[in-house]
Symmetry: C2
Subunit: 195 residues, 2 copies
DNA sequence: CGAAAATTTGACATGACTCAACTGGAGTGG
DNA sequence: CCACTCCAGTTGAGTCATGTCAAATTTTCG
């Protein structure tokens, strides 16, 4: 039963659950293993689950009209993964979520989340707080994309997510940064020359 | 007392407040009038209030190291305005919020919001839901900035926020779109030639 | 009306993209 | 253990989207 521990610990860092609430919550969670390459969600499907990664790594991306892939985010241990837009409206997703490594996650359906919130009202607070944080991070990213050069964005990414950078092929990082893989390669060679 | 009506109506579209709760809530709200040009928040100050615009218009922007202004968002009637990052952490703000017109808003402090949430728990739900929506909108914007040309972003903006476009000088719209005022001007003249 | 602010226009510069060729592992199988 | 392929990464030439700067024009508003 303690496969849900990582999420419960994570929640307890923000609100405090009683023993009983932990039980109640656990009964509404599911655990899932996915292999590298498998999809947690496909563009066009309704996103029925929110996922919390406990091991491995996913990429969230979408394919535009020209067939170009754009990475929206990566999720590693202790991060959430889903298409929030699709999840809250229960309309077809804009995004795909695919595993970059063998991945284990805890997930729950929209209906189960509603039930959680009814039974354990303090989870309203928990979800509000984590979404506030996600929103702030998202705003920050907009601002950065607007005011920083590709090179500076890359340097910042490297500083903020050193763990992610090491696990992920460069062409995906380029995509996340909003540049081409060729251009990222050129940025890197400039950086080497400089010092 | 009914200066708080717009916000209460807005809340009631998402959760249902009793007469008594409306009273309670009202006692924790404040009303404020600002003149065109006045600041609701300045970069570096702690954002002590969340604001809900009932009349007028604000811009949220920041000034980067080169002294360049970047518009993060506009807020008109029935929209929120604040620096969420600063508000939730109570650390110095990255953003300024300034009125583009004479503006009336309802606002409340961080402490008052905490009190509201204690006294009227269903507001946890309310805030969670509106922040979810804001987060989704923010994600969408990231995606658009990554995959669309400046021209398409402008056309989309014009379609989505026709009301805002008419009220706001073009150089601010350019800034919001992440381009220079000169380039937006060129986009517009191309659009005219095209049809 | 006149001054200041906003917008437009043009010449030129540059950051980032495209495409195509090349390099260099990491399997895989004979 | 070699040959082959496949995939990620690099490099270079040419191009395009957007930026910079400066001047001209239009609009706004006291």
């Amino acid at each position: 039963m303690d496969k849900f521990r990582p999420l419960i610990d994570y929640i307890n860092r923000i609100v405090t659950l009683t023993e009983e609430e932990e039980q109640q919550l656990s009964s509404l969670l599911s655990y899932r293993k996915l292999l590298k390459g498998q999809y947690f969600l496909q563009q066009g499907d309704v996103c029925k689950f929110s996922g919390f990664v406990i091991k491995g790594c996913t990429k969230t991306f979408y394919v535009d009209d020209e067939g170009q892939e754009h990475v929206v985010m990566f999720s590693i241990e202790d991060w959430w993964t889903s298409d929030m837009g699709s999840y809250i409206t229960q309309k077809p997703a804009d995004f795909n979520v695919q595993c970059l490594e063998n991945t284990e996650l805890i997930h729950f359906s929209y209906e189960n989340q509603e039930q959680m919130l009814r039974e354990i009202p303090k989870l309203e607070r928990f979800f509000r707080i984590i979404i506030e944080r996600a929103f702030v991070a998202s705003q920050k990213r907009i601002v950065r994309n607007m005011s920083m050069s590709a090179k500076d964005r890359y340097l910042l990414f490297r500083k903020e997510y050193p763990k992610i950078e090491q696990r992920i092929p460069q062409y995906l990082i380029a995509s996340y940064l909003g540049i081409t893989k060729e251009f990222l390669s050129k940025i890197k060679s400039h950086l080497i020359l400089e010092q």
